[in-house]
């Protein structure tokens, strides 16, 4: 494997793993406040899945030459990145519905494209993860439908979530890909950011419109002539600020993860000290 490929794949998969682990936190804060027992169970299961994805992906990344301990240490100390959307607060139950439907929807658009990636262990992990993300999407869709078909306050709650989360969702796909994107060159990624964002528009914007939910981008429209969506470029400065560790919840979320990492060091030590492990 060329070293340049190994390094690019490692960085990409590590960031993906970090995002799964950090992505559990915004929704995790709503488990104690879920409106019904059914919702509490399903949200707990979803959060468990996301952390499980992190575990699976760290295992894949480890084989590319960096230990899980080092990756987690880098994450909790702010030396590596995680997806921009997980730097924001989940303020209401409407945000939980938004994350489940549209953040998971955006993630699924990205992740399905990775099923054709060039690194087979990563593809195998994605074959495991995509069906679960598809399940999460159903869960989010159900939450969203409950709100938009409910009272005026419930509809407003979901609309408010859309208004606050739309720009971070545009950021989620990243800036337009460079002419020579090394990840695409190596086949670690198979499609450009713009192609994925366009697929997201086509899949989800009509659904929102069908439910009377507006999108806070006055320019967003399907352009039949060129066969793609016109849209407004978001504030990319904010995107870079956030992913460099200056998001509204970055320090709180990293502190949460770091506290658990530090206080549970004894568990890792016990595992490593077991006779079988010592013999490995």
């Amino acid at each position: 494997m060329p070293d340049e490929y190994r390094q690019a794949a490692l960085k990409f998969i590590e960031m993906h793993a970090n995002s799964e682990v950090m992505g559990a936190l915004p929704e995790g804060t709503w488990i104690p406040r879920a409106p019904t027992l059914k919702r509490k169970l399903s949200l707990t299961a979803k959060v468990q899945d996301e952390v499980g994805h992190g575990q699976i992906l760290y295992r894949v990344a480890e084989d590319l030459g960096k230990t899980r301990e080092q990756m987690f240490d880098d994450l909790v100390n702010g030396r590596t990145k995680f997806h921009n959307v997980f730097h924001y607060p989940a303020e209401t139950w409407g945000d939980v519905a938004y994350i489940g439907f549209l953040i998971d929807g955006a993630a699924l658009v990205n992740q399905k494209a990775l099923l054709d990636a060039s690194y087979m262990p990563y593809v195998r992990a994605m074959r495991r993860i995509c069906p679960e993300e598809s399940l999460h999407l159903r869960h989010g869709e159900q939450l969203m439908l409950e709100l938009v078909s409910g009272t005026a306050e419930q509809r407003d709650m979901f609309q408010d979530a859309v208004d606050r989360w739309w720009q971070p969702t545009m950021h989620f796909f990243g800036p337009p890909s460079k002419q020579k994107d090394m990840l695409i060159h190596w086949g670690i990624k198979t499609r450009t950011n713009e192609s994925l964002r366009q697929e997201f528009f086509s899949t989800y914007v009509p659904k929102l419109w069908d439910l009377g939910v507006t999108v806070p981008d006055p320019r967003l429209a399907w352009n039949e002539e060129i066969g793609e969506w016109d849209w407004s470029e978001p504030d990319w400065d904010e995107f870079w600020r956030v992913v460099r560790g200056n998001g509204p919840m970055t320090s709180i979320r990293l502190a949460q993860r770091k506290t658990v990492w530090d206080t549970h060091a004894w568990v890792r030590e016990v595992f490593a000290g077991m006779p079988e492990a010592s013999a490995a």
């Binding site: 299961a45 195998r124 495991r128 697929e199 419109w209 507006t214 793609e228 595992f271 490593a272």
Partner: protein
Amino acid sequence: MQVAIWEVLGKRTEEDQFAVVGGLKAPDAEMALLLARETHFRHKEGVAYAVRRRGEPEVHAGTWPAEVLGGVTDRSYRRQEGYVGVGATMKRVHRQLAAKGLVIDRPRPPAGRTRSAEAERADA
């Protein structure tokens, strides 16, 4: 810290051969099987599971039979079957909101099309 690496193997149906579905780290086979069950088979993804320590031929088969793999209590919220009818609900809610004049009717791509082939080519 050195903890052994294990490959996780699974069979989707009884007729299938065991295939590698992932990997994990665990200090021994017992813990590897427990983690494999929790990380790879809790959504009823298969009928049999096993682990194999990397670099070793011995396969350690999981002892949970197919009918209990993934749990026996009602955890349908962990599986697609727990969300049957969401698509129909979407259509029903759309009709209700349309009747109230709340839906937004704007041009959109033809069904099943996300972007023109020309735009995809230009972007690539």
